[in-house]
Amino acid sequence: MIDGTYDPGQPEWTLPDLGAAAERTSLAWQRSGLGMIAVGALFVRVHQGPRLLSVLLGCVLIGTGILATALVGPWRYRTILAQVSAAQSPTSRWVMALAAVVICAVACASFGVVNLG
C-alpha cells in the first residue's frame, strides 16, 4: 500500500504521485495494446495484397495487443510499484525492445499488404 501523504522531509521517490505515475504508464500500455488490436482488425478486414500475409499480420497485431492490454499493462503497474518502493529504477528494457521489434516488423511487412501496383 502506497502512502498518499506528502512529507516535504521525505526523499522524492516517496511522493504521493507514485501510484498515479504507475497507473498512467499502465494505461499507456493498454492504450497501445488497444491500438494494436484496432490496426490488426484493419489488416484482417482490409487488404489488397496477399490474403495470407494480411491475415497473419492482423493476427500478430491482435495477439500482441491482447498481451499488452491484458498482461503487460497490469504487470507494469505491479512491478513499478514494487521497484520504486524498493528504491530501484523501474526500467523494463526488454519489454519495450520486444514491442518495438513487433511494430517494426509489422510496418515492414505492411509494404507487402498495400496495393503498390
Binding site: 522524492e12 521517490w13 504521485d17 507514485l18 505515475a21 504507475a22 498512467r24 504508464t25 499507456a28 500500455w29 492504450r31 497501445s32 491500438g35 494494436m36 484496432a38 490496426v39 484493419l42 489488416f43 482490409v46 487488404h47 489488397q48 513499478i80 521497484q83 520504486v84 528504491a87 530501484q88 529504477s89 523501474p90 526500467t91 523494463s92 528494457r93 519495450m96 525492445a97 514491442a99 518495438a100 511494430i103 517494426c104 509489422v106 510496418a107 515492414c108 505492411s110 509494404f111 499488404v113 498495400v114 496495393n115 503498390l116
Partner: protein, 133 residues
C-alpha cells in the same frame, strides 16, 4: 584503453556500456515519462501504418492511383522510421537521464513533421483539384 581506441577495435554493439551501468538511477517519474513517450511513438507508428493501408485500400476514387500509392508509401516509411527510432530515442533519453545530461531532441520529430506536411499538402492538392474539376 581510451574510448577512441575501444571504438576502433570493438564491434559497434559493444561500444556503449549496459544501461544500468551508466550513471545513477534517475527520479522514477522521469523514467516512466520516458517509457510513456516511447509508447506514444509506437502508437504514432501504428496510426501511420493504418493510414497507409487505408489510403491504398479504402478510398479507390481518391485522386490518381500513383498519388494514392505515393501517399501510402510515405505513410508506411514514416511508420517504419517512427517504430525503429522509438527505441533508440528511449535509450538515448534514458542514458541522458542517468548521466544527468541534457536531452537531445533528435531528428525523429523533424522527419515526422516534414513527412506529415508532405502528406497533408498532397491530400490538399487532390481535394482542391477534384473540387475545381
Amino acid at each position: 584503453m581510451s574510448s577512441e581506441q575501444r571504438g576502433r577495435t570493438s564491434p559497434w554493439w559493444r561500444r556503449r556500456p549496459p544501461l544500468r551501468e551508466v550513471g545513477s538511477d534517475p527520479d522514477y517519474r522521469f523514467t516512466l515519462a520516458n517509457e510513456r513517450t516511447f509508447l506514444a511513438w509506437l502508437r504514432t507508428s501504428l496510426g501511420l501504418t493504418a493510414g497507409g493501408v487505408a489510403i491504398s485500400s479504402l478510398v479507390p476514387q481518391f485522386g490518381p492511383q500513383w498519388l494514392r500509392v505515393g501517399l501510402a508509401l510515405i505513410l508506411l516509411v514514416l511508420a517504419l522510421v517512427c517504430a525503429g527510432g522509438s527505441y533508440s530515442r528511449w535509450e538515448r533519453a534514458e542514458r541522458a537521464l542517468r548521466t544527468n545530461s541534457s536531452l537531445h531532441p533528435g531528428v525523429l520529430p523533424r522527419v515526422l513533421a516534414i513527412g506529415l506536411v508532405a502528406v497533408a499538402l498532397m491530400t490538399l492538392a487532390v481535394v482542391v483539384i477534384e473540387a475545381a474539376g
